[in-house]
């Protein structure tokens, strides 16, 4: 039961983090207090790790760019990939970090930065880590969809105002 309700709360918040505990409670048929408590404990357990605005930077005059870097590394005896990951995600420049299956090991997504900053970060921070064998840096040209939201066409209600 608890698991089921948690999943529902998470699904709702993932779509719209601004909904209050009261709104969510009425949507799910619970008391506002119960939902607030559940959210609080999920925050404490790091099931919910933050609430962020979803910004379309391309619409601003910001001309920094996003980069994705493929990393091949040599895992260490005893520590596997986790220790290396720690060395990478501690950098504030790193937006997200994933360990991957397939042709390379880590995907590093960088926060928006200038070309110069990215070049410097890759060459002087990432490439010099002992375990890193190689890097391949890709620049994002256009962001069409992110977090399930399309960036290109804002959703417009095409229905007639009143229909039977």
């Amino acid at each position: 039961m608890e698991k089921e309700i948690r999943k529902k709360i998470l699904e709702i918040l993932e779509k719209d983090a601004r909904l209050s505990a009261k709104d969510i409670a009425s949507m799910l048929g619970y008391e506002a207090g119960e939902i607030a408590a559940e959210i609080e404990s999920m925050e404490k357990e790091s099931l919910i790790c933050g609430y962020h605005a979803f910004v379309n930077w391309d619409k601003t005059d910001d001309d920094r760019i996003s980069a994705l870097i493929e990393l091949k590394v040599t895992p260490q005896r005893g520590n596997g990939f986790d220790k290396i990951a720690e060395k990478i995600y501690q950098f504030p420049e790193v937006e997200s970090l994933y360990l991957m299956s397939g042709g390379y090991d880590f995907t590093v997504m960088l926060k928006k930065a200038t070309m110069k900053e990215i070049a410097l970060f890759v060459s002087s921070k990432l490439a010099i880590i002992d375990e890193v064998q190689s890097t391949a840096t890709h620049i994002v040209l256009v962001r069409y969809k992110d977090h399930g939201t399309s960036f290109i066409e804002p959703h417009k209600d095409l229905r007639m105002v009143v229909t039977p």
Partner: protein, 390 residues
């Protein structure tokens, strides 16, 4: 010049929705909760199948009763979901929306003067379609007291020697009411006793929030006296594709098909191909949309409780039907005033039959964000109306 228009058509009243539409349509930034169709886009895999059908040049007529592939999928689906057996060759016709199915079912059954009984408030097309088929419309007025369920005594009271057809639709547009097995069993008894036939419009069958939907055709001895209508509009968010179907015993279907083949020929081919994809891989889509509607339904009910606006809890479709009688206005006056004061469009209950006049229909085929803003405005409006009457 003579007046060429036939008297039958002149007598049919224009839809009450039209008037409100004309006003609402003029207001920029209107928040409308007046729409009778899903807010979701047709699932992409279904749209893609439609595009593929076009690319492949599948733009010819299909057989009158519909693409055989589609008929088979529909029958499989009806068997799987409702446990009903229909033969995909002789007991089905694919129509242009549920609307055409209602029309041809009535035309196939009704002789001039035959009475058709139907619960009201109901979908706007029932009464006009009965009149067009030269039948006599006999509305059975329902109220929130019975949660807008049809009861055997109300049905019994409406039946005369001339009654031939019971036309009903649950889950209901506009009330959101549903009927469970027990309710339907009692109705079936009366239907059999008076030797009637049932046209059941179950277009909202997938949107039932209190246990699985049951059809009156599920009751022993009823399938043989039932025309079951359903379609793709609501379940798969496919309103504009115009695709529905009717299911009935072969000796009845034969005549629906006769009308369909001469009046329509066949339903849109591209839509039929897309619908095959909807049936084969659409369960997840339905589950997602249904879950979302149910959350919004609860949200609205909670909002009404806070406002002190009486509303029976509806468990179907995507409508709520609150009672606005405390304000001493007709439902149309209420809707017009709300529209003018707060730019919120809802539909007067009277558009669905006179007995709906104590109510307004509010659709929750909108995002929670829109519903939230609309409820804020509705609450403000109601508060100001209550101040006035003090």
């Amino acid at each position: 010049m003579r007046d060429f228009i036939c008297e039958k058509i002149k007598k049919i009243k224009p839809s009450g929705i039209r008037r409100l539409f004309d006003i609402a349509n003029e207001i920029p930034d209107v928040i409308s909760l007046g729409v009778g169709e899903p807010d979701f886009d047709t699932p992409w895999h279904v749209r893609e199948e439609g595009i593929y059908a076009l690319q492949k040049g599948r733009t010819f007529y299909t057989s009158n009763s519909g693409l055989s592939e589609l008929r088979e999928e529909i029958c499989k689906n009806i068997k799987r979901k409702y446990g009903l057996d229909y033969d995909s060759n002789s007991e089905i016709v694919v129509t242009i929306g549920g609307s055409e199915a209602i029309d041809i079912a009535l035309r196939a059954l009704v002789d001039p003067g035959d009475e058709v009984v139907y619960p009201e408030p109901c979908f706007v097309s029932y009464q006009p379609c009965i009149l067009l088929s030269d039948g006599v419309p006999v509305p059975i007025e329902l109220s929130a007291e019975t949660e807008f369920r049809l009861t055997p005594d109300r049905l019994e009271a409406a039946i005369t020697k001339k009654t031939k057809v019971l036309l009903m639709s649950y889950p209901s547009n506009p009330t959101g009411a549903i009927m469970d097995m027990e309710d339907l069993e009692k109705i079936a008894e009366v239907v059999k006793k008076h030797d009637l036939i049932v046209i059941t419009d179950e277009i909202y069958s997938e949107l039932s929030y209190k246990g699985p939907h049951v059809s009156i055709a599920n009751i022993p001895g009823m399938q043989e006296r039932t025309i079951l209508i359903n379609g793709f509009s609501k379940a798969y968010a496919m309103t504009g594709w115009r695709l529905g179907y009717a299911l009935a015993p072969a000796h009845i279907m034969e005549y629906l098909l006769k009308i369909h083949q001469f009046a329509i020929m066949s339903a849109p081919t591209v839509s039929q191909y897309a619908a095959v994809a909807a049936l084969r891989e659409g369960d997840k889509d339905i589950e997602m949309m249904k879950g979302s509607y149910d959350q919004r339904r609860r949200f609205l009910m909670e909002s009404f409780r806070e406002m002190g606006l009486p509303c029976f809890e509806p468990y179907g479709a995507f409508y709520v039907f609150p009672d606005i009688s405390e304000f001493g206005m007709t439902s149309e006056e209420f809707c017009t005033a709300l529209l003018k004061a707060e730019n919120v469009a809802v539909v007067p209950g009277s558009a669905f039959g006179e007995c709906g006049d104590r109510h307004v229909r509010i659709s929750y085929a909108y995002s929670v964000e829109t519903l939230k803003e609309a409820m804020k405005r509705l609450a403000r409006f109601i508060e100001s109306m209550r101040q006035k009457t003090l």
